[in-house]
Symmetry: C2
Subunit: 213 residues, 2 copies
């Protein structure tokens, strides 16, 4: 069975985005600090078409994270373009340009219908309006036997966690405070179905891997 | 210079006590889960007068935490006895019985004056009403060259963190959610003066050590 594998970077105070998210600061004020551990990594830069980079304790974690993923699910806010109905005259096609780094089908949770977007090099965006279970079903079929990544953000993750649908959770804990923004675990009552199985310490991040008990 | 060393157990969602703290559940609902990693440890049981226990990855962390501490600071809520003026007819003398496990002077932050309490085997409780800096000054003098432990709870920690007075912070991150209660970092804007220097992974807790930059 294809697994649903959730991964996200989180601050010590529990935020996955800072306060006052905007088009200029999609991760909110200070939110980019959540990802400072990843940008220098060779294992992240290569699949994003960038040269160089470092190899460190996070390398194996990143390689594992990217391996055997056949589809991705994300929330509308992570795809971007602001809330509400889609703007058809100046359509928002995501943050990632014409060749997004997914290279597989991506399913975007939204309340507003929209035709699928076919991008370059294997990435497509399908907009799912009938809920998280439908998105997971569609993503599993599209993944052709591989696993499904749940990329975030907070609200999408909360729904899947609360429904007990997450098979694996990889938290990248950044040793910073954001002081406000989107809290990952708001409304999630417990992690009873998930157990911590692996902790990897790097100098600027701690990776905590949970799997279904 | 004697250091102020803060240590506390915290949930993945950032709480250091669960919701609905009471005399029956001083750590709030579910709060005892924060400390499940520590009770089985031989390195914790021995100084608490208990026999047996396990040795694991947390042992060295606990030994380091207990070493070279000459005084402790804690908030009123951690000392217990409920909020408001002290009850002189049925005085609350802490959670720990007549021989508390500190064996050094303890300074309790409170708004309500009270005479010092002298307990067995070296523990005393001094009630400090003139603020965190006064408590730290008194604790440093009492520590006779050793370091001062800041034991919590959340509000005491927030004040010392916000004032930049913490020299070392050891977080014991329990892989659980509490869903409510006392958030450690509420009102703390940043950890700019502290850097993550060591991460120790155990099966049921992750120890994150920060020191002043």
């Amino acid at each position: 069975m294809s697994k649903l594998r959730f991964r996200i970077s989180i601050s010590l105070d529990g935020f996955v985005a800072g306060p006052n998210q905007s088009l200029q600061e999609p991760l909110g004020v200070g939110g980019e600090q959540l990802h400072e551990w990843v940008f220098p990594l060779e294992a992240w830069r290569r699949p994003h078409g960038l040269e160089g980079g470092v190899v460190n304790e996070s390398t194996a974690v990143m390689e594992e994270e990217l391996a055997n993923i056949g589809a991705t699910i994300m929330g509308r806010n992570m795809f971007g373009g602001g809330p509400g109905p889609w703007n058809n005259t100046e359509p928002w096609n995501g943050w990632w340009g014409s060749n997004p780094p997914f290279h597989h089908p991506v399913f975007v949770l939204t309340h507003y219908p929209r035709d699928p977007l076919i991008m370059e090099s294997g990435t497509s965006f399908t907009f799912v309006t009938d809920g998280i279970e439908s998105a997971l079903d569609q993503a599993r079929r599209a993944a052709l036997g591989k696993d499904v990544a749940l990329a975030g953000g907070a609200k999408a993750a909360q729904q899947y966690l609360q429904a007990g649908l997450v098979d694996e959770m990889q938290l990248h804990l950044a040793p910073i405070l954001l002081g406000g923004g989107e809290r990952l675990f708001d409304g999630v009552n417990s992690l009873d179905s998930l157990a911590l199985v692996k902790t990897v310490a790097a100098s600027n991040v701690t990776h905590l891997k949970f799997v279904r008990k």
